[in-house]
Symmetry: D2
Subunit: 407 residues, 4 copies
């Protein structure tokens, strides 16, 4: 059984209370503010109020890892201790931002903590930790399979004391959001380097730099995920000073590798929260709905679906917790088998659970009157985010065959 620290337990309790008091009652108002927004990618007033309340309550920057505890009011949390907090946030899709814990900013802040110079940190990390600005991570490109990072084609060329960027990116989460000010851009700076993992560089590009065009918002299953959203961006002779390089020229791949483990597992944690909520709401629904002379809850197939979903949630949660603890103990690199196992299992499992729960809600289950559809979209999207599942299955399968196959 997984044991959480006292600190985590206290935060879990406070977070649940915060949800009861501030988040659930604001689900409908949030939806309405967004629906009536003139600009879907502008900050919502409600979000700013809730952020202030979360800061007042000390529920802020919960994602900060123990290894960078200096950035957290309470010294950071282990992955294991953070898991139930992220699960709680997963119950309301837009809630992580309230606690400054939303993707991609959490991953970006970690990048700044680990790889940025003090000057870069004071300019970008500090306002990010304060929730004053947002950030994007520009990796994926439309024309190549970006799960293989060596395919990246956006060109970064050094000209005098500047980097010059040319190319296209898409699925750049957050870039449309008005509050987003800084992009971390991965590109190819040295395409002829014989070491294919040294051809890439990452540079910091303020969003208002000339030459950047936000071409359009992208949707997934019809959702634009506003106000954070996913953008297609074109870079046309975009120039930034040399000091905007992150870590160093040719070290882009190294940063990319370090960034992704925790991000994937955060998605999984949140998805489990979505599934758990779906299960609970479905239990309430089936007990209150009658069809063909019998409560839905008395139909054997309904009970089977609920029992199966419960068991799957248990398994998914345990897998994620085990992964977290392994990450805490041996690091993300050594835990990559478990990270991959979580990434390929949890989103699909949660997608199926949500599909079942929607079905038990009738046609209404597909609408915005419930949170299922939006969560379903999130789960489906996660099967592509950070690389399609198939890529992780390939890597994990290969690793296992090496491990067991040589015996």
């Amino acid at each position: 059984m997984f044991r959480f620290s006292d600190l985590s337990m206290t935060l879990q309790h406070q977070l649940r209370e915060f949800f009861d008091e501030h988040i659930y009652p604001n689900e409908m108002p949030y939806r309405e503010q967004l629906a009536w927004a003139q600009n879907r990618f502008a900050p919502l007033p409600l979000m700013d109020q809730l952020k202030q309340r979360a800061q007042d309550a000390g529920l802020w920057n919960l994602f900060v890892p123990k290894s960078h505890g200096e950035y957290s009011a309470f010294g950071g949390l282990s992955n294991l201790d953070y898991a139930p907090l992220a699960e709680q946030m997963g119950r309301v899709t837009w809630s992580p931002e309230v606690f400054n814990c939303n993707a991609p900013d959490t991953g970006n802040m970690e990048v700044f903590m680990r790889y940025a110079t003090p000057a870069q940190q004071s300019r970008w990390l500090t306002p990010l930790l304060n929730g004053d600005i947002r950030s994007s991570y520009a990796m994926t490109e439309p024309q190549v399979a970006s799960s293989d990072a060596t395919n990246i084609e956006l060109r970064i060329q050094r000209e005098g004391d500047e980097w010059v960027l040319n190319g296209r990116k898409w699925f750049i989460t957050g870039a449309l959001y008005e509050r987003t000010k800084i992009l971390i851009v991965m590109g190819k700076s040295d395409p002829k380097n014989p070491d294919r993992h040294k051809q890439q560089t990452q540079v910091l590009v303020p969003k208002d730099t000339p030459g950047i065009t936000l071409v359009r918002p992208l949707t997934t299953l019809g959702y634009d995920d506003a106000p954070i959203g996913h953008a297609e961006i074109h870079f046309d002779n975009v120039r930034v000073p040399l000091e905007n390089v992150l870590l160093g020229e040719g070290r882009g791949f190294e940063i990319a590798q370090g960034r992704l483990g925790p991000g994937r597992i955060h998605h999984c944690m949140r998805l489990i929260g979505a599934a758990q909520r779906a299960l609970e709401e479905t239990c309430q629904r089936v007990d209150n709905r009658t069809t063909f002379g019998r409560k839905l809850s008395q139909h054997q197939s309904v009970r089977e679906d609920i029992a199966k979903s419960f068991a799957e949630i248990q398994m998914a949660r345990l897998l994620v917790l085990e992964t977290c603890q392994k990450m805490d103990e041996v690091g993300a690199r050594e835990a990559r088998d478990m990270i991959a196992a979580s990434k390929i299992s949890v989103p699909k499992m949660v997608q199926d659970i949500l599909d079942r729960c929607m079905q038990m809600h009738g046609a209404g289950g597909l609408t915005e009157d419930y949170f299922f559809a939006e969560a379903f979209n999130y789960a489906r999207w996660c099967r592509q985010a950070d690389g399609p599942d198939q890529v992780h299955q390939m890597a994990l399968g290969k690793q296992l065959i090496e491990q067991y196959g040589k015996q």
Copy 2:
């Protein structure tokens, strides 16, 4: 092997040509007209142009069944002959309206053909057949499980020479569309009738009748299906003359029964077209995309997914054609086992095929750059439309147990 009539073969050929010439090239323009529309539920200019072209080409009212051949320029088609035409239309989600073949108007027109008085027909059926107006069928209610039609609660009371309607409906497809003028409303007129199937009546209600409120558009998985859409509607002392009754007081259930068989099977036909297109586009994609040093098409798992999808499409199509032929030969009532088998199999199968094809398209597969996401939403929705699959499984299971269980 299923043999289509010469007429059907000719129409299939013409329809494919019409798609090549007019529909596929207009997919992007259609999307843009809709995106920029001030009112998402207003008719699109492009649609009107295409409708005119379809009429000119004689590709109009293809859905008209042989039994009502007088309403068709070429004497109507059998279900079997119509199937490949509907499949073709399923390749572009919004295309059926071009040919005056979209739900729910096709089902409503059939209702008018079978059950309406000559006066009712000349007022509503004629403009519907001409494509001048659209219609809705108001059955589902938010507060009860409407798949069991005896649950319907909207009250229809006779007062003097009027029917007075009070109650709520939702998922009323087409009601928001500006061109929609008439609603067929199912309600309860005689709640104390000991025969539970005689308590219902259907009346014709012009959309502009006072007391009708279009409360809001409903979405499914984030899609509003504009411009046709799905509405929530409130009826507050809505009054129509007695002659607006359809077929007769207490015969609403009878009409509902007669309406649904063909509608379900039309959905299945169209979904097969969507799946077939997805398969074809995926075959093209995987042959043009390289990852980890190999074409996607050379990965064994990609080939397996494509092979499986092909086999499933074959099976789904054959099931639907067999169902059509049985309907043609013995009528929808006697073919209800096959209709149910199609309804519970095809949408789920197509949803899974689309899910696979999206996955093979990477993150882009989830966007509007491809037709997958919208088709996925259509398939998912069809698992609820005309009653959740579970209700049909219940009825079919019961029927089979009776048929085989007594031996």
Copy 3:
């Protein structure tokens, strides 16, 4: 809808009557004769009686294809016309032998019809058609992936006026059966031929030829499939005269290609019969069994399982019939996409249906008191027989990508 010839309809009727009168009542006696047999691979007296009756009834050699109608009392049947007959036989696993329609003899007889010399035919084909002897087809080898026929390693060398065979085979169906007299053996005669499809030769080897060792019976999921069974065989300097070559030296691959299409589809036909029977028996069971105060048939999940199984059987059957008709019209080679689609879909679908039906029979469903377990083993085995499904998915996927991918 698929239309069978009058001849097929008559035979279907007669066959059903024969089952009612002679096959079903002998299921338990057959099982007992086998259980008490001293030699599990000896012919059973009951089988010989039933064969005589089938011959008397004219239900003999139903498998003979129309193209070789001269070997049939009624001129042979098309694949389509044979399908419902094979489906009927699939209802009792051991019954095909009663009608001289069991694998691998049917496939072998076709090989003799197509490729054998008159002398070979009179020596082997005639007694096979009479049911006096049985035969085996020795292809699969334990040490190589035999689904890729070019991997075959059994060595066939020409020495003087003899072929000399050395090597190992396994899963040689029928070889253990006492009545089996002749083996068709595929081996490598010309390993250095630059055309990898000309390296193989097939020769006829009487089972009593010195040097042949029947090493052991093989089981699948615990079943030995006695009395026909599957053998491992070693060939140690086995010598046969040159005239025992089939078709000609270097033409083994060509024969292998021609043989397999119909065999695969016969398996599918029979499996559908097994699934159909399982469905029928399950309908009877659930109507006669009470648990937790309610008939099994009243549980919603039971109805759902039965409805799903019905739909799947319909789809599987239609797929097979469509495949048959395509084979009849354009030949097995041109119909290989549909043959592959059947091969990869039907056995897995039937396995799942049987699994469900067993489960609805409680623990007893796993025993020999019912036919489920044996049929389950047959379905599972068919996913490997004639090559694992994955090989056929690979070929079909590749073909589809070529077909659609180049557009």
Copy 4:
């Protein structure tokens, strides 16, 4: 992460070594001794040798729970501490008996520990703990759905100073085994008692009591599970003294309830060992087998299957460990939701993993040359053992709806 006690860690290590030295090398000899046994239900000499070695090594009665530590040389183990030991034993289907840890004896010994009188214990429990005799638990009846224990019909009547038993039982594991001496029989002693859970009584019946007929061995998927096996038994005026009652008249249901939790979870533990072994062997196989010019391990679909199986095993194992720890902390009754979750998830998951692994082994994977088929049968059987999964889903679904539905 789950932490095992030092004792458990030591035993795990010793057990793994014992397997390397004594169990794996004897798999083929065991199979052969059984194959050549004149009586398949007689003790095998090899088993007795191995039992002696296990006793010498102190690897004996590992199952004894901490609560009854007095029966164990090392004071008993918690469920959590036992789990990895049982998993190890699951790698070889017949191995648990070597360590006196096989079903149904473990469950029966627990019954004796908890409910038997000192006299009953000294007569039966002591030789059971020594491995000198074996026992059966006679619950399931062929004519009723025995998962609902109130359905049990075997009649137990008090006549003078004797209990008289009449009725039929089946699936009585171990009853055919020659070494089995005692049956615990559940029957109905008071059919008219208004409390349906007080109608049952359990009595101890020596196997050689007159009136007992071992009718036949039952198979599952073709396996007789010899030498332990599953029997059908008839009781015809079987008489035992009154003192043979267990716990007391009318308390049979109470015993049945207490017995089953640990048994179910032991099955799950062992199945995980089978799946883990299957995964390991498959990794070795695919790295040593070439098809179509490429190692199996290089096919993307093979890697996906292996990755998926790894993730599923992790989830299944974590679920079982969590269940164990909950049982250790709050007792089996309070942990029944987790026990049910394990029971409905693990056997099906393991069945599917084994199915995949068999498929990656080609036709040979279905034979006795590998352990897959036997393990597959075990997994399939466990979906019925201790009640079909559906019954547990029903109970768990109901419990969850109550828990969450009332909020």
